[in-house]
């Protein structure tokens, strides 16, 4: 750790969300492999997956995917569009865009959470 600044925070969040999405991939494969156990086995795991707690994690996953993807665009702009001098402003834009989309997902998920 050197100092907190937008570039460092952007990189750190990119790593954390990247690891989270990779972890999710493992969980996803674990869930899908229950198909081999027939309908009852798959229903059992889906019952667990559809619990409110898991849905909160799904929302966090959406946030991680959104940030990782949108920050990826920021990285491409830095690499190919010669905008490295404006990376701090672009990072604020990444956070704002991620935040808006994430909140939209939360609003969309609230009825499902409440119905459980």
């Amino acid at each position: 750790m050197y100092r907190w600044h937008p570039g460092y925070l952007a990189w750190l969040l990119n790593r954390v969300t990247g690891l989270a999405v990779t972890l999710y991939l493992g969980v996803h494969i674990w869930v899908i492999h229950h198909l081999s156990q027939g309908r009852q086995g798959f229903d059992r795991v889906m019952h667990f997956i559809q619990s409110p707690v898991t849905m909160v994690f799904e929302l966090l996953l959406i946030g991680a995917v959104l940030y990782h993807g949108i920050n990826g665009v920021r990285i491409m702009l830095v690499e190919f569009a010669g905008v490295s001098r404006h990376q701090k402003v672009i990072f604020v834009g990444v956070l704002a865009f991620t935040g808006i989309l994430f909140l939209s997902a939360v609003v969309a998920a609230i009825p499902h959470l409440v119905s459980h």
Binding site: Y2, R3, H5, P6, G7, Y8, W11, I75, V78, E79, F80, G82, S84, R85, Q87
Partner: protein, 232 residues
């Protein structure tokens, strides 16, 4: 006005572990951190070790971490700092003693990128003329004073000190972007290696650390674009 300086002390011959020692210094108006360090060394504790030379922010000798930020001790005004002033050696480099770090690796990486003009034509008895437009291409690249502040702040360098680091790559860009230079292919094996330009993760610590407000990340990106264009 009296100010307190909490200074990193390490003498491997005396004690295996580093510690901090606090000094109180009577600061005069417009003193830099280097002035304060000199006052400590000359009047209080002659054993304090640090590098300094030009005192004008151009030799790069007195780069150190001051209140958590890399900078040149001869440029940082004491009056611009708040509270107890913590002075540490540059992070990421092996400490030899107190504020003196081992810069051998840093300079060997610099040498590896061949930081000199490699012209494709034989020298003549005249200078190699450059247009003002071409000269402008190396603005922001030639000003590096090789203080090491950027490389020492780079996380990619912390985990792998074989990585060339931002200072060496900025210097490489200075010559690669020079229209009089034809040495890109001579530098390719180093720049395009596993410890070359691709190891930068655009964290921008180097930009935050540079006391000359240079942008090594931008230089590295330019090198990447240049090398990518070569392959297409």
């Amino acid at each position: 006005m009296e100010r307190q300086f909490k200074i990193y002390r390490f003498n491997p011959e005396a004690a295996p572990a580093a510690s901090f020692q606090t000094y109180t210094v009577d600061i005069q108006h417009a003193w830099t951190v280097l002035d304060a360090l000199n006052a400590i060394k000359w009047d209080q504790d002659g054993s304090l070790s640090f590098r300094r030379s030009c005192r004008h922010g151009i030799c790069g000798s007195c780069a150190m971490k001051i209140n958590g930020k890399n900078g040149l001790a001869c440029e940082v005004q004491v009056e611009s700092l708040k509270g107890v002033i913590t002075v540490e050696p540059l992070p990421g480099f092996k400490v030899i003693r107190d504020l003196v770090t081992d810069m051998d690796g840093f300079f060997s990486h610099l040498e590896a990128v061949k930081p000199w003009l490699i012209a494709g034509t034989p020298p003549t008895d005249k200078e190699r003329v450059q247009s003002p437009e071409d000269r402008k291409l190396i603005d922001g690249l030639y000003e590096c004073i090789l203080c090491g502040a950027c490389t020492s702040a780079c996380p990619s360098y912390w985990v792998n000190d074989d990585f060339l680091g931002p200072a060496a790559l900025l210097k490489a860009a200075r010559y690669v972007m020079d229209t009089r230079d034809d040495g890109l292919t001579d530098r390719l094996d180093v720049l395009d290696s596993r410890n070359g330009i691709w190891r930068c993760h655009t964290i921008f610590n180097c930009v935050e650390a540079c006391p000359k407000s240079l942008n090594p990340t931008e230089a590295i990106v330019k090198l990447r674009q240049k090398l990518a264009a070569l392959r297409i």
